[in-house]
Structure formats: C-alpha cells, structure tokens
Symmetry: C2
Subunit: 275 residues, 2 copies
C-alpha cells in the first residue's frame, strides 16, 4: 500500500517536520520504498518532486527536508507498489491542468482493474490511481464549468470518491491550489495546530520541534496523514466515508457518505473530534 | 530574455556537464536570474524541477548538477522575465498531458500580447510562453488524433511555430517524450557528440570533461542551446526558420520555413554543418 501526507495552512508554512517523519517510512521505519513524491503549491503554481526510489535514502528527499519551502497546500505520498510497475510515471502525486489551475492527486489503496472512460484526460502510466484521477477530472469537466460554485463541485468530487471507494480502497488527497479535499475509505488522521503552540516529537525519527518558535499566534496549520506522525499529540481519526474540505488550515466543509463495511476500515464508532 | 538547453541521446545520459554551464548564466555569468527549470524524461515519465530564483545560487540546482539523473530527452530553461511576473507559475518548462503522454515546452523570445483561443488547455500563469504552449496543444488536438503519423503532426507543429515567430521572437523546445522538436526564430545552436569522444571545456565554469571516460563507443548525444556552452568544440548555428526533430541523439527530420528578416536573427548565410 502507500501512505499519504497533506497540509493546509493559513500562511505559507514549511512542512519539513512532518515530511521528515513520512520520508523515514519509505524504506527505514516503513516498507514504502517504491517511490515518493510531493507537490507544494505556491500561489497557483506548484513545485513537484518525484522519485521512483526509497525516500529514506534519497538525496533529493534530503534536500526537500532541509529547505524551508513554504506553501499553503502540500500533498505528499510514499509508494509501496501493488498496481503498476515501479517507475517515475507511476509515482504520485499526479498533476493535470483543469480550467487554468493545476490539480494534484494522491491515492492510498487499491481499486483493482479500474478503467475510466476514454476521454480527455488519459493516464500516462499504468496505476489504478492515475486512472481514478483522470476519470475524476473527466467527469468534473463533463458535469461542470469553470464558474461552478464550490458546493456543487465538491458534491461531485465526493460522490465520485464514494463510487470509487465502493470498488476498492480509496483514501484520497486532491487539491486545485485553492482547497484540499480529503476523503477516507479506510484510514486517515488529521490534526490542527494553532496557538498556544507546543512541542511535538516525531514517531519515525528522533526529532522534536517547538512550534512556538516557528509560528506566530495567528497561524493555523492542519496536517492529514495515513498514520499519525507524532507520538505526543492527539490525532483525530476520520470515519470510513468521511470527507473534509480544507482551506487555510481549517475544515470549511465536511460530511460522510455511506459505504458498505470494509475490513480495512478503522473503527467508525469513535466520536469525531477536532484537536 | 532567456536561454534554452535541450538534449537528445540514444541511451540514458546525464546532462550534468551542460546543465552546470547553463546554471552559471542564471545570476553568475549571465543575467537570467528570474527562475530556472528542467524536465528529464525517463521513459514516458518526466521529472521536473522548477524554481523562481537564480539558478547560480540555488541549492536544488546544485543537487541536480551533482546527481547523475539519466535521461534520453531533457529540456531546460533559465529565465530573465519580460512578460509575466517572477513566480513559480511562470517558470519554464511547462508541462501538459496530451493523448496519454507528457508534453513539455520551453520558449526563448517574446510574442507580445499573444492570446490563444479559449479552449481545453489554459495557461495557469500569465506569460506569452505558456499561452503559446496551450495554443499549440489545443490546435494539435483539434487537427489530429492519437494515431496521426509523425510527419503530419510535426508539420502542424512547425507551421504553428512559424505563425508564432511571425508575431515575435520564438525559439522553441518541445517534447512528447518520444522526440524533441527544436525551432529557431532568432538564435539556437546544436552539437552532436559521438565516437571518437574527446574532452570539452565549459565556457561558464572551470570544468573540463573527458567524454571518452563517460560514454561507450555507441553513444550519440546531441545538445541544443541558445549559446554554445563549450569553448573548444564546434557548435552548429541554426538558421532563422530552421527546425530539427531529434530522436535518440540524431536529427531525424529537419527543414526551414520562410520568415521575414528580423534583426535578432543570426546570419542565415553560413552553411549548415553537423559536427
């Protein structure tokens, strides 16, 4: 499988701390050694790094961990291949332009044999994940136009995520540079950090950060991940079928769609709480 | 203005030597300090690096100079902004998916006020260059289909390059991962290196490479650049209106279209020769 990491912040923020934790899981503390990638939005632009190799030993991943690349939205992914060979073209996040914006997508799970309709956006590689992304964009473009309101657009995206999740396992991070949509089919956690900030310790590396030193009292930064990245903070689990739309560090819309129970899912009995 | 660098090779080859020379011109030996970018094809995949800052001082550009990223097609660009602000979204090369392949594009020159038709591919930033690229892809898609033969496809691309060049200055590198199309409106040089290989010295840095140590006798590597990058090799100037299609290090098709004389053009009297 794979692991996902997303960030939404109300001010350009570097994700070095969380990214450092995730990168260890790509071959050191975790088995996701088949590739890694990250997309940093800077305004409408997006800076991407992809490598079809283990992140834990990657010189480029090392540089990305050192450099304070500041962004309001980040999507990252480490890959343990199941569908599609290990190569650059199958490395998430995927990116396409729609209506003059770059859309990026990363997927954790498996939708075996998924084939979207032949249409405008076509996969370049041979993963189910890229096929899902292309199908999603094709159907957004078919059903909407550039002036569609956010509610209608998100409604379509969530409906499609549910459709895909009924065919397999489908945890999704999707962004158009304005918002970050997160959808949980089996496993996803989030945490929102805001004043008063405190220290945090990574689970996968001997790193502690004191967010108070790194932030102002107005900063709001949310991190979304397949597994909690720190040992001393409370992460909120998503329910199966739960989606959240993030903007500027806050959940600006959310909901839950019915999905049949799945043995991969986390418990849906725990009450949802925001930290 | 800007500078272009392209490579076509018959075996995965690293471009560290040429790239090192070009990067110096981004703020050290040249004024192109407003951004740099490079796209490396690996099969159908493409690895891109973009930064809206001077390459000569860039830590990421430094890593790319050190890492032996091997590719059969490379497109790189350093930017001195004229149209469009200095930001990530305006940094070449631009990339889009068409017919299940990633197409990349870099432009040197200026086509003031260029506005393509509103269509499928839309610029995300506000450069004339990205508008040209989107127009090119929109018109390819409108006139052809995925099974169009290469000759017809290239004919359309060259016709469009000529149309753009009549509206301004338009030196172009374009690739779909299979071939590299190069078009000269005012200035472009190329060199093909094959056995017997010898040493070469960069113009912009105190670096000498002995290609014999780095290659096999079967390797063919061509480099295309706005200005020659070495001091001790013979680079062939393109004529104004000349285009060359490169595959596996060789020119596989070429031609020349009539353009009105332009004071930016290089002499068109020198005879073309391949080294």
């Amino acid at each position: 499988m794979c692991e996902l990491l997303g960030m939404s912040a109300n001010t350009p923020t570097d994700i070095r701390f969380s990214f450092t934790g995730l990168m260890q899981r790509g071959g050191a503390t975790g088995p996701h050694r088949d590739g890694w990638g990250v997309a940093f939005y800077e305004g409408r632009g997006v800076r991407v790094f992809h490598e079809p190799a283990a992140s834990a030993n990657s010189e480029i991943a090392g540089v990305v961990q050192r450099l304070p690349i500041k962004s309001e939205i980040v999507i990252s992914h480490i890959r343990q291949a199941n569908v599609g060979s290990v190569c650059l073209v199958n490395t998430h996040p995927f990116i396409r332009e729609l209506w003059g914006r770059y859309w990026t997508f990363a997927h954790n799970g498996q939708v075996p044999g998924f084939l979207g309709r032949e249409d405008l956006y076509q996969p370049v590689g041979n993963t189910d994940s890229e096929a899902l992304f292309c199908d999603l964009l094709n159907r957004i473009r078919a059903e909407h136009h550039p002036d569609t309101g956010e509610t209608a657009l998100v409604d379509t995206v969530v409906t499609l995520c549910g459709e895909y999740a009924r065919q397999g396992v489908c945890n999704i991070l999707l962004s158009n540079g304005d918002w970050l949509l997160t959808f949980c089919s089996s496993k996803l956690f989030c945490i929102t950090r805001r004043a008063p900030f405190g220290p945090a310790r990574l689970k996968d590396a001997d790193v502690v950060v004191d967010f108070q030193q790194e932030t102002t009292s107005r900063d709001v930064v949310s991190v979304i991940a397949t597994e909690p990245l720190t040992t001393d903070e409370i992460w909120t689990p998503y329910h199966r079928g739960e989606w959240r739309l993030w903007r500027a560090g806050e959940t600006v819309a959310s909901g839950r769609i019915d999905l049949p129970r799945n043995e991969d899912s986390v418990s849906t009995d725990s009450s949802s709480k925001t930290h």
